[in-house]
């Protein structure tokens, strides 16, 4: 469904800079329909860049990004993107934020309300419909950002460290909610994270990236059956081995970064 073939992406960081920065070097990856794939790697290795390429925010310097066989040359409206930064509209209430996509698509107010009520209830945001983003906790903002993206039912979900800055308990709860929503709908998900446990708990496959310039180093299939229990993923017999394999690849990169 999503294919990156020999993708290079270079940046000229400052206006007058001469040295070109190589963010991605020869990256090829595939994400099948309905698959949940995680991307882990040292920070600055180009994870967000990959998502930006798939969303069509950026174009590859070389190589192709394809979606259902079609090259992505402009904004890829089939994707829903939960970005790394906080990108709720600060001037819209929770409800109005979640409604945004439906509103610009011309969905009638009543129909919009129904969808939004259901989604907000699904992630426990009832009672906060009329709050502005600055009146919500970090976890609530993330939840709102996620359901805002789910509201228009994009075929592909891109999620960039959505639970990165949250406390451990909130994170577990949100992972659980995400998994349940996903298991219901089986959308294609590409999920960026720093957290190896999270990557294993949620995904069908984990892709490990090298430090910059980013390349895909390894691909680890997670053969833990679904539905999964994120709260007790540690006690799954397959877990330690999987964790070890991911860590083995990643630790080399981190070690190399230190040298």
């Amino acid at each position: 469904m999503i294919e990156l073939d020999n993708v290079f992406r270079l940046f000229l960081p400052k206006r007058r800079a001469v040295d070109v920065f190589v963010a991605l070097e020869d990256v090829s990856l595939r994400v099948a329909e309905g698959e949940f794939v995680s991307l882990v790697g040292p920070s600055g290795c180009g994870k967000s860049t990959i998502l930006n390429l798939i969303a069509g925010f950026l174009q590859p310097t070389e190589g192709t990004v394809r979606m259902r066989g079609q090259p992505v040359v402009t904004l890829n409206r089939a994707t829903g993107y939960v970005t790394q930064d906080d990108t709720l509209f600060p001037w819209r209430t929770t409800r109005a934020n979640v409604e945004f996509a439906l509103e610009v698509r011309g969905v009638a107010t009543a129909a919009r309300r129904d969808v939004v009520e259901r989604l907000l209830a699904q992630v426990g945001l009832q009672g906060f419909e009329n709050h502005y983003p600055h009146e919500l906790s970090g976890g609530m903002r993330k939840r709102a950002a996620i359901v805002r993206t789910l509201a228009y039912e994009p075929e592909i979900l891109l999620m960039d460290e959505p639970f990165g800055a949250l406390d451990a308990q909130t994170k577990l709860l949100l992972q659980d909610q995400l998994l349940r929503i996903w298991e219901e709908q089986r959308r294609t998900v590409l999920f960026v994270t720093h957290d190896l446990v999270e990557a294993i708990a949620l995904s069908d496959r984990v892709l490990v990236m090298s430090r910059a310039p980013g390349r895909i180093l390894a691909e680890i299939a997670v053969d833990i059956p679904r539905p999964r229990d994120v709260f007790h993923i540690h006690s799954n017999p397959a877990f330690p081995g999987l964790y070890e394999r991911v860590w083995e690849h990643l630790s080399k990169e981190l070690g190399a970064a230190r040298a």
């Binding site: 409206r77 993107y81 970005t83 509209f89 600060p90 001037w91 209430t93 698509r105 600055h134 009146e135």
Partner: protein, 297 residues
Amino acid sequence: MSIREPDVRNERAREADSPPRLQSLKAQVASRELRRRRAETRAIWGGRVAIVAGTLLLWELLSGRVIDPFFVSSPSRVYAAFLQLLFEQELLVHAWYTTLATLGGFFFGSITAIVLAFLVTSVNRLYETTEPLLAALYGIPRTALAPLFIMWFGIGITSKIVIAALFVFFVVFINTVSGIRGTGPQLINLARLMGARDRDVLLKVVLPSAMPYILTALRIVVPTAMIGAIVGEFISAQRGLGFLISRATFEFSTHAAFAGIFVLMLVVVAMNAVIGWIERPLLRWRPRSNVGSSEGG
């Protein structure tokens, strides 16, 4: 609340979960907060009144004793002149004329500025090209242009409106441009990804994002618009508060000049109040910052 029975407090705390107890707690907190806010408002207004009254009193006392009232007049004389102007010289007509010129300049100048800001920023290259040129125009002292505008538009109200608009234009334009350009590119990208068309992006992302800047500018330029109108009236007019003040000064009637200035102030205060009233619902989404320490009780 005083802690009279420390031993029972834990019992009470456990009981606090029961709805009636919680209800009364909520009511307590709400009424305490309400009282605090009322006290705050009272303190602020009390302070304002005290400052104004103190200044007037000091002025009245010093004038005639320490300073020659010929130059600085005094509140009682200004009040007398005010009444005289009001009943004998159509003060209200002059005030209305200046207010009209101010409002006209305010709306004409700021609407032109906002529209132009959106046009110029809609094409990146257009903005990059014209930015230094506009900055150069901004550098021209506007007061120096005012006589030209009187020449072009006559001594009637049109020239006053145009001059006031000119005074207003750049501040609103520059602020609106920074507001527009400050819109997070990620926010715009995401809006598009979610299906927003150009018009949606403009009205539902860029405009609200720039709104605080625009409103700040509008607030700043209320007195600026009046300065423009008055400058115009100073140069050449047969009506308006500027005309009244300049005539009074020529006749060495400081009382009347101060009375005119006082009315100008009232008009600006009233216009500010209207802007504040429009602004509040539009900026409700912003977190209120509290930089200063509030002196709590």
